[in-house]
């Protein structure tokens, strides 16, 4: 579904990704962890070309996303992206945030878009907030609207960049719950998160990055048993029990 082949990324003279290779198959959930600045965000941002790469290839459904034959805007509809800072459109209601893509990209009528958006809001438990402006929603509600906004485009993959890091602790659960339901429903996902409990529960594989390299990977069980003395083990102990 998504394949990284020797991906190199530079910001000027700073190499941020160094020869990253890895594959995410349909229905898999990968959790990406690593210290700050290790390149986690940059890696998932390469998938929809929010960042361009200087070496290697990123393939989505076996198509090189840098190739001319790939319509990048089409691809972006198939790959949902959820940001740490939610990035809701503050001048549109919760509903308006979701219907924008539906009317502009899917050509749905206002009424049809509204109906579809209400379905997505229902999935994240926010139907009663449909007409609220983002400024009046709590962080957890904003992030759930952002997830609904992505899901409304019927993506085949969802990318999450620390979706709970900006949240007050009491709101983390509601967002993780939405993500768990999504995973249980078979969604292919790459999640950058330090929620180790979430990783243990839903990750098929944890990828550990450091300084632009993917230095360890394995299922949560493998990592827990065999690598207690590893860098990942040390890192997991530092970010705390999940």
């Amino acid at each position: 579904m998504i394949r990284f082949e020797n991906v190199d990324k530079w910001f000027g003279t700073l190499q941020v990704l160094a020869g990253i290779s890895g594959e995410v198959r349909r229905g898999e959930v990968k959790v990406l962890v690593g210290p700050s600045g290790s390149g986690k965000s940059t890696l998932i941002r390469t998938v929809t070309r929010l960042e361009t790469i200087q070496g290697g290839r990123v393939l989505v459904d076996d198509a090189d996303i840098a190739s001319r034959s790939v319509d990048i805007n089409r691809l972006r509809q198939r790959v949902g992206f959820v940001f740490q800072a939610y990035n809701l459109f503050p001048h549109l209601s919760a509903l308006g945030n979701i219907t924008l893509g539906l009317t502009k990209l899917r050509g749905l009528s206002k009424a049809a878009a509204r109906e579809r958006a209400m379905e997505e809001l229902a999935r994240v438990g926010l139907t009663e907030k449909a007409d609220e402006m983002p400024g009046l929603l709590s962080g957890g509600q904003k992030q759930r609207v952002a997830i609904a906004r992505s899901l409304a485009m019927d993506p085949q993959v969802m990318l999450f960049d620390e979706p709970t890091s900006a949240l007050d602790p009491e709101m983390v659960g509601e967002v993780l719950a939405a993500m768990k339901r999504l995973a249980a429903g078979g969604m292919t996902m790459i999640c950058v998160t330090h929620e180790i409990g979430f990783a243990r529960e839903v990750a098929d594989e944890i990828w550990f990055m450091e300084a632009g390299r993917l230095i360890e990977r394995g299922s949560p069980a493998e990592l827990a048993s065999s690598q207690a003395g590893s860098r990942l083990g040390a890192f997991l102990r530092k970010v705390g029990p999940g």
Binding site: T48, H91, L100, G135, L136
Partner: protein, 236 residues
């Protein structure tokens, strides 16, 4: 002073209308509002061009903005006044001349305001729109501009205030506006220039001060809105 005002308030307000062309304060406001409205699309175009990734759009737009901002308004008034008859083959009135000059001039300044508004938006806004699959124009029209223009509303009111003051230059080409009306009153009275131009100054001041206060009020509202209240959407 009060007596002058009592005898001439209509002239200050609407010029010689209905016996002659409309002028005075009404025309001042009309010209300022019209030129700002007309320059709006150009200003947006210039701002977008200056932010474009394409050099062939960015460079000319940047050159235009810098050139216009580097010249005094009166140059544009003179150029329009002397050259437009050559181009269109008939004399052009003072009001048209002034509005044309102001549109060119204000477009450059307003474009800088709009550009600042666009650049001031969090990068995540365009990234979120892009990630949905929206292309440049839907992103710009539905996500970027509504927010940028809303945030820039106070600056635009300030720009309106500048424009009001700049219309007074219309005097030199006999555009019938507020300063022109004051000069007419002065020509009739002959002996009281201090009072007449005092009234003129007070009128400009009251108007501009009121608008500037309005701008501050809007500014407070907007920053309060960022703190949680729903944003008011201002359509382009």
């Amino acid at each position: 002073m009060l007596e002058i005002l009592q005898n001439n308030w209509l002239l200050f307000l609407v010029g010689q209308y209905p016996h002659g062309p409309i002028g005075g304060l009404v025309m001042t406001l009309f010209m300022a509002a019209l030129s700002l409205a007309l320059c709006f699309p150009f200003a947006i175009g210039l701002a977008l061009a200056r932010l474009s990734p394409y050099r062939w759009l960015r460079l000319p737009a940047t050159a235009i903005v810098h050139t216009v901002r580097g010249l005094p308004l009166i140059m544009f008034i003179f150029w329009t006044y002397f050259f437009s008859p050559l181009i269109i083959g008939r004399a052009v009135g003072g009001v048209e001349t002034l509005v044309i000059a102001l549109v060119v001039y204000e477009a450059a300044y307003l474009s800088e305001i709009i550009r600042a508004g666009i650049e001031g938006l969090p990068r995540g806004q365009t990234e979120a729109a892009t990630s949905l699959g929206l292309r440049y124009w839907p992103t710009t029209i539905k996500v970027v501009l509504p927010q940028a223009l809303h945030n820039m509303l106070p600056s635009m009111v300030s720009q309106f205030v500048s424009t009001i003051k700049e219309t007074s230059l219309g005097y030199v080409i006999s555009a019938h506006e507020l300063t022109f009306a004051a000069a007419q009153v002065n020509n009739v009275l002959l002996t009281q220039p201090f009072e007449v131009y005092g009234i003129l100054a007070l009128t400009y001041f009251a108007l501009c001060f009121a608008l500037t206060s309005l701008a501050r009020l809007i500014e407070r509202r907007i920053s309060a809105g960022r703190g949680g209240a729903p944003g008011i959407v201002v359509a382009a």
